[in-house]
């Protein structure tokens, strides 16, 4: 088993374009990119079942944490690994994020070559822990 479907949530269109291209081209993954937390919830509720969710932290209206809480509230998404994607240098909320169930924190800028690998590893890790 490997990672195949990813839900990307980021308000920056360029990031969405870029990361989608990277994951598709380099990771061979199926990527659904949405622009906001609301859209993410709507997408999940409409039946999209990703293996992994990548959440941008700084977004207007619903930030990463709020989106995470909303997602976790959905019955189907209690176990889905979630990675935070952030440009914050030293997030002081690292502890809090981990408590909330964030599996990994990806930083921006990122290396395109490594990104798919990072997501794979994250997903593998989450599979192992019961």
């Amino acid at each position: 088993m490997s990672l195949r479907k990813v839900l990307l949530v980021d308000d920056e269109p360029d990031i969405r374009t870029l990361v989608s291209m990277i994951l598709r081209k380099l990771g061979g993954l199926e990527v659904e990119a949405v622009a906001s937390g609301h859209a993410a919830v709507a997408c999940l509720q409409s039946g999209y079942a990703p293996d992994l969710i990548v959440l941008d932290v700084m977004m207007p209206e619903m930030d990463g944490v709020q989106t995470l809480e909303a997602i976790r509230a959905l019955p189907a998404q209690k176990e889905t690994p979630v990675c935070f994607f952030t440009a914050k240098v030293h997030p002081v909320e690292l502890q809090r994020w981990h408590e909330l169930g964030v599996s990994d924190v990806l930083s921006k800028p990122f290396s395109p070559a490594l990104l798919p690998k990072q997501l794979q590893e994250c997903w593998q890790r989450c599979q192992k822990t019961p």
Binding site: L18, K25, S111
Partner: protein, 697 residues
């Protein structure tokens, strides 16, 4: 300058004058007293000496008179006295005489009657005296002129003489010839003794007492007083230099002055007149000191006393002066010190009152005695609240514990005060221990409010966090896109590559803009942003700005709704900056407009002011956010929410720029009516560019 005496305030000058006068008077009085005492003493001594003189003179005269008496009797007893006989007899007596003369009658037909000179000189010839004793014994008879007898008859009884003369005149006295008596005043005093012989019993003439006498002549002695009495007077010793004069009170009243001892015969106040009653004749012995002598009698003692007194008075006055001066100096020093103290007090008080740091004066137990206004502002209390309370009560419990342990350290401790509303106040605290002049310890406790610093630190941290985030986001796109293109060329087709490179370029430009915005913001805040204002019509500038957003508007299918006033609208603006501002407003409007909406653009002139309004039909701005809309990074308030996108500086820069151009920028967002941004600029009406710029600056 006053001196206080019990009950009396005297001026210092007055006291000094009194002291000086008293001193002078006292010493003068003392000097005068001593002078007169000296005088008195001397007077006594003089009197004493004069008395001795008197005795000496009296005894001497007595001796001479007795000797004359003897000589007269000798002559009277002898029938004829030859010179040798006379001399023989008189020689032993000579030591008493200074001169002796024998006057005898001259026969009527004697030539001496007419010529007047005939005398018998009986010089002893046996003494050559270095004391100038001369013994000329003369007897001479010369013309008698006058009725009286000049000279002094010491032993001739006045009565007897009168009787004799009367007898002669009346014929009772028989003389061989008429006795022509001529006595010439000898230099000095002359003593006369008549010499009588008994008449032969011839029966002619009779005298009152029955005896018949025959006047033969006179024996006289001249007395040179000084020569005669010199030794005796000298032997008197302490009588010193005197003038001694002996005068007779003869009928003529003529006085004969003798001077002995030098000096001038001047009548001086201290003159002793000694009345000598000698042979029933009155003599006056006048003894007076020579002037020279007199002066010497007073020595310098009175003068010395006076000078000493004056000197002493002067010393006292000088001493008083120096005391006074010292006291004055001490007073002035005290005043200066007191002034200095007052001045220092005032300065300290001023410092205390106006210091920006809280200062508290505590006693040695830590009780607050004095609290300055800065402290009161810090803890939001009044001085009544704080005075008497323990200093530690201002702190939070843990701060108080740390303070108690470490207050003696010379560094500032970072502690927290108990805030009014439960929010602790971060402060720097320090204590300075002091001692009062009487040794009581007290302390100055100082508190520096750190809230502003902390707030600024927090803002800075947030700013940096925000900026780094804002930088990282486009950087991620650039790096990602470029890496992808560079490393995965095979996987991408031309279109995709082109897309990625465009993305990179676009993001790079965004970064550039961000950095420019940051610099603009910094310059605006420092007041160093320079504008090149010109008087320009605004409409063409607006059009230019609109043109830049054509594509974006088309993307969202937005349209312009324009309401322009009819007049030409001109103002003093920097054209590039004005376009930048308009672009910013348009950009926001586009971002927040829903698709298929319109952006409303309104330009009109209201009472000399140009109004440009850009309104979107979006969801608007929450009312509570409106006030901070134009703050830098207003949206990035530390949380992860942003209600607006962008660098966060755009509106702040626009606001600053419009202000520099002399106008204003505000936002309105009535609920349900989107957001309006309104620029107001003064309509240019002939003012020069400099004037406008001056107003704008």
């Amino acid at each position: 300058m006053k001196i206080e005496l019990p009950g009396v305030m005297l001026s210092y000058r007055l006291v000094v004058i009194c002291v000086a006068l008293t001193g002078i008077l006292l010493s003068a009085s003392l000097a005068v007293f001593v002078w007169f005492k000296q005088l008195d003493e001397w007077q006594q001594r003089f009197d004493l000496g004069a008395m001795r003189h008197q005795h000496a003179v009296e005894s001497k005269l007595s001796d001479i008179a007795n000797a004359l008496d003897d000589v007269g009797r000798f002559v009277a007893a002898s029938e004829e006295v030859t010179e040798a006989e006379f001399r023989f007899f008189v020689t032993p007596l000579l030591k008493l005489f200074y001169g002796l003369s024998w006057i005898e009658q001259v026969p009527a037909d004697s030539p001496a009657v007419t010529t007047g000179v005939r005398w018998h000189d009986m010089s002893p010839g046996c003494h050559t005296s270095d004391r100038d004793w001369r013994y000329p014994i003369r007897h001479y008879v010369t013309n008698y002129s006058g009725d009286g007898l000049t000279g002094l008859d010491m032993r001739c009884d006045e009565k007897r003489l009168t009787a004799m003369l009367h007898a002669r005149d009346s014929g009772q006295l028989t003389a061989t010839d008429e006795v022509i008596l001529l006595a010439r005043p000898l230099p000095g005093l002359a003593l006369f003794r008549p010499v009588f012989r008994g008449l032969p019993d011839k029966g002619e003439g009779s005298r009152p007492d029955g005896r018949r006498a025959h006047l033969r002549g006179y024996v006289s002695a001249g007395v040179n007083f000084s020569g005669m009495f010199g030794p005796e007077l000298a032997a008197l010793g302490d009588t010193g230099l005197y003038q001694v004069a002996l005068s007779s009170q003869a009928a003529t009243g003529e006085h004969v002055w003798l001077s002995w001892g030098g000096g001038k015969g001047l009548a001086l106040p201290w003159e002793r007149k000694v009345q000598l009653h000698f042979a029933s004749k009155q003599m006056t012995l006048r003894i007076s000191p020579t002037r020279q002598f007199w002066l010497q009698r007073h020595d310098a003692t009175p003068l010395l006393i006076l000078l000493a007194g004056l000197a002493y008075t002067a010393l006292i006055v000088a001493w008083m002066n120096s005391q006074n001066k010292r006291r004055r100096q001490a007073e002035m020093l005290a005043i200066a010190r007191s002034d200095d103290l007052i001045d220092r007090e005032a300065r300290l008080a001023a410092l205390f009152m106006h210091a920006p740091i809280g200062i508290v004066r505590c006693d040695d137990k830590g009780t607050m005695m004095e609290v300055n206004p800065a402290t009161l502002r810090l803890v939001q209390a009044t001085s009544q609240d704080l005075r008497g309370r323990d200093y530690l009560s201002l702190f939070t419990p843990w701060s108080a514990a740390v303070f108690r342990k470490r207050w003696r350290e010379p560094e500032w401790l970072e502690l927290e005060l108990q805030g009014e509303d439960g929010e602790p106040i971060p402060v720097l605290a320090r204590v300075l221990t002091m001692r009062q002049p009487d040794g009581t310890p007290y302390a100055w406790a100082m508190l520096e409010d750190l809230r502003a610093i902390r707030h600024n630190e927090r803002l800075k941290r947030e700013f940096i966090a925000t900026i780094s985030h804002e930088l990282r986001t486009p950087l991620s796109a650039i790096i990602g896109a470029v890496d992808l293109v560079r490393d995965q060329t095979g996987l991408l087709d031309a279109e995709e590559q082109s897309l990625l490179l465009d993305m990179a370029a676009q993001n790079a430009r965004q970064l550039h803009q961000l950095i420019d915005d940051l610099l603009d913001m910094e310059r605006l805040e420092q007041g160093k942003l320079s504008l090149h204002t010109e008087l320009l019509p605004l409409l063409p500038l607006i059009r230019k700005a609109q043109a830049r957003f054509e594509v974006l508007l088309a993307d969202k299918r937005l349209g312009w709704r324009e309401h322009f006033c009819s007049e030409e609208v001109t103002a003093h603006v920097d054209p590039d900056r004005f376009i930048q501002i308009m672009g910013n407003l348009f950009s926001n409007a586009v971002k927040f407009s829903p698709p298929d909406a319109a952006i409303i653009l309104r330009v009109d002139v209201v009472s000399g002011t140009v109004r440009i309004a850009v309104t979107d039909e979006g969801s608007g701005i929450p009312q509570d956010f409106l006030p901070s809309l134009f703050q830098p990074f207003a949206q990035a308030d530390g949380s992860d929410r942003r209600s607006l996108k962008g660098s966060g500086l755009g509106l702040a820069i626009c606001h600053g720029l419009i202000a520099r151009m002399g106008g204003s920028l505000r936002a309105e967002s009535p609920p349900g009516q989107g957001a309006s941004f309104i620029i107001e600029l003064p309509l240019a009406s002939g003012r020069t560019a400099e004037e406008s710029a001056h107003v704008a600056a």
